[in-house]
Chain length 288, copies 2
């Protein structure tokens, strides 16, 4: 396995921090320069051993690095690519962690060239920031790599090795297919959790929420867990993938309305049919 | 703690079975007669040690029992009460496990008298049937008791002791307040999960669901877990509590529509505001 003498981490949050901690633990990265728009987050990343030094800019971080990890919100990715493009060593490998891939891969390849290889580690949690970074977060999970016909095959192999060093199982996937699948496996579940938690917030008094918190019901805890996710990250993501997302949000709205109408009509058979369809859908999508 | 020489369990499923297993383990119940409309479920309950004997009817099960646990779907509860009313010993304690309480408590008190004490163990899972019964399921969880001014105070105390013997923390609550809180803490989260899983079922090909299952994303797993719940139980429950549920299902529909519109308009600030509101709602309702 290739060792990287110097790596740069642009965006020292939950996912990027977890990756670098795992790579350091695996012994494949020697020194790390960390940059974050939020200086305090970069300082905290240094304290946590994610980075050895805090860089004053993304350009300063990537200078001299052989491995560059771009871990900013998806909507900030293209600007980051433009910023660092002129400062990158010609032989450097560049990858990212974005949860959407079509736009990012297209701009990464255009701006940074064939040694940019888009990646999406399908892991993470509702937490954010360098304090949530965890070297075990990625272990055993799937990392989707989105090389295209423009990618340098050597860079693709190096990139797969990097993510595998963090304990991930890599899968190659076309960027458009990635965005279609992730709209279903992650973005729509987040939309449902956001809508549910926002609705509950609006219909529950403080006194009632205390009583509900005391019950500690598992259905509420699980259905709303991801509603605690970062608003900045997720407003970016949902907008970035809106082409895939909008038709299925409409489908979600249609199902809510079907259930509402069936409940309102007292139509037990129709409610039971929707619940049964939900159960078989769940069984197809989640194996345990 | 009072010992019960003979108990009757009407409905030998997940929750009733878990209660009787816990009571037997605690040594407060000597013998149990089990009845289920589904004879195979009652036989299976006997095999699992939930009941000592399978009764041919609910009437036969309750004859001679001092403790009677009614654990059928909420929509079948009043019929069960009417069926057993003439066969119950005058001194017997009757309780139930229904997840709605206004209708059940009202019919239980009217049909069975002051020694009926409504209960709702806030526990359970997406599983159902006697094979899912687990003596540890209820331990440490909250059991809501819904006595009224008609209840026999001695029966209320005995009922609390029964549920506490299964390891539960009991709380007294007015039936109307119970149904209002549970609509928020459990029924609406289930509606959201049903709508999400049904929507995903409709927009995902078999080939795509295989790829999504391979990703094993945590957001999908958690947001849809309860979508695997029993269609019979839940169609009953949602209709039973429709008065409390309908206005908040409308609120859920409104939030889905707000998110859809904001995503469609590319309105990042509005999406972020909804996500932030969801996060603070979650924080009020779930303490960890």
């Amino acid at each position: 396995v290739k060792r990287w003498a110097r790596a740069a981490l642009c965006g020292t949050g939950h996912i990027g921090g977890s990756l670098l901690l795992a790579l350091r633990r695996a012994g494949v990265v020697d020194s790390v320069a960390g940059y974050d728009r939020d200086r305090a987050a970069a300082e905290r990343a240094k304290e946590r051993g994610i980075a050895d030094e805090v860089a004053d800019s993304a350009v300063a971080a990537v200078a001299g690095a052989q491995l560059i990890v771009c871990a900013v919100p998806v909507g900030a990715m293209a600007d980051l690519f433009r910023e660092i493009a002129g400062a990158i060593d010609p032989g450097a490998l560049i990858t990212d962690v974005g949860s959407t891939k079509q736009t990012i891969v297209s701009s990464g390849e255009t701006i940074l060239g064939p040694r940019f290889v888009g990646a999406h580690p399908v892991a993470g949690s509702e937490r954010s920031g360098p304090d949530a970074a965890d070297p075990g977060l990625l272990a055993g999970r799937v990392c989707l790599l989105c090389p295209t016909e423009k990618s340098d095959p050597a860079a693709v192999a190096e990139c797969a090795a990097v993510w595998q060093s963090a304990g991930m199982r890599t899968r190659a996937m076309d960027p458009a297919r990635h965005d279609r699948l992730l709209a279903r496996s992650s973005h729509l579940p987040h939309v449902a959790a956001f809508a549910l938690a926002a609705a509950l917030d609006g219909v529950t008094s403080d006194e009632e929420s205390d009583a509900i918190a005391d019950l500690a019901g598992a259905s509420l805890r699980d259905t709303t867990r991801v509603a605690a996710s970062s608003a900045a990250t997720w407003s970016d993501l949902l907008l970035e993938n809106r082409g895939e997302l909008l038709p299925i949000v409409e489908q979600l709205a249609a199902e809510v309305e079907s259930l509402r109408a069936a409940i309102s009509d007292g139509d037990r058979a129709k409610v039971a049919a929707i619940v049964a369809r939900a159960g078989s859908g769940r069984q197809r999508l989640v194996r345990s």
